[in-house]
């Protein structure tokens, strides 16, 4: 079983950072909804508040890790132009997609949308984490601030879903591949 360096880095970007972030959203949205739901006025306990702050900061870090690794490690490989005369676009994902009208939409719609909207997630989550750190248990005194934090978390989730879904489907149609071969296990037969 083997892989290559670019494939491994793409997995780090999409699965380790992005996948973990998407999983984390379910917990954050449930907790934020509980805090923001109508009629809720009791402050979080000290333990709950501490956990919530840690959780949101971790999500913001994951979100920044996802967009920065995407933009500065994976995207340059994806958009690299093939040298003149090259007709095998296996290592040139963007060119591979644009070469056929059946796949061009994955770039023209999918990548064009994902490369921008993905950045909503770390910006929104950084704001939400800041608000929870700044206000702590006093957030219970600010219903509209809680509502905005919940709304921004929802938008961050939507942006992450768009980016994650298109990322997975684009990589299925034109995988980012190349670099050193990495053997994960030896041949058994």
């Amino acid at each position: 079983m083997q892989t290559n360096f670019r494939e491994l880095m793409t997995a780090l970007h999409g699965l380790a950072f992005g996948g973990l972030l998407l999983l984390a959203f379910s917990g954050a949205l449930v907790a934020l909804y509980r805090i923001c739901s109508p009629g809720r006025s009791a402050a979080l306990s000290a333990g709950e508040g501490k956990w919530m702050r840690f959780y949101l900061v971790a999500m913001a870090v994951l979100a920044w890790g996802t967009v920065l690794s995407g933009a500065y490690i994976i995207y340059p490989w994806y958009r690299a132009k093939p040298p003149a005369g090259v007709t095998d676009f296996a290592e040139y994902s963007r060119s591979h997609l644009l070469a056929s009208p059946n796949t061009a939409g994955w770039h023209n719609l999918g990548m064009e949308w994902k490369e921008h909207v993905a950045w909503f997630t770390p910006i929104a989550l950084t704001m939400v984490a800041y608000v929870f750190i700044k206000y702590g248990p006093r957030l219970s005194q600010h219903r509209q601030v809680r509502n905005a934090a919940f709304a921004f978390t929802l938008v961050a989730f939507l942006a992450a879903v768009i980016a994650g879904t298109f990322g997975a489907l684009i990589n299925k149609n034109a995988p980012v591949e190349g670099g050193a071969i990495i053997k994960l296990t030896g041949e058994t037969k």
Binding site: V67, Y72, A124, M127, K134, H142, A151, F152
Partner: protein, 114 residues
């Protein structure tokens, strides 16, 4: 940060309002700069801060810069105040919605008359 005030003291909503509006401004700028880069070839060259990443590098770097600078300015302005949070939220939601819409390529193409 929250430990600077004694328990039970109310913190004005200004710092939160500053963070919320500036985050919406940052998100809107990502889409607006992205759209500008697609619509105007000279802007695409201007946004090309790092060649392997292309215009996306400048679009996102500048949007982050606008976000952080606007956050700093609004924090200084609203830091010790309580502001009309309803209006702040409406402004933030409008910017966020406009940013989301503008990030959608078919809508951007429509605005460019493509």
């Amino acid at each position: 940060m929250n430990s600077q005030r004694p328990e039970g003291t109310e913190i004005p909503n200004g710092p939160a309002a500053a963070a919320i509006v500036s985050a919406a401004v940052g998100c809107f700028c990502v889409s607006a700069f992205g759209w500008l880069g697609d619509a105007v070839p000279a802007m695409a060259s201007f946004f090309n801060f790092y060649n392997p990443t292309g215009a996306l590098s400048g679009v996102t770097t500048l949007a982050i810069l606008v976000w952080l600078v606007s956050w700093a300015i609004l924090s200084r302005t609203w830091g010790e105040k309580s502001v009309a949070m309803g209006r702040v939220n409406v402004l933030a939601y409008v910017l966020l919605g406009a940013g989301l819409l503008l990030s959608f390529p078919p809508f951007g193409d429509l605005l460019r008359g493509k």
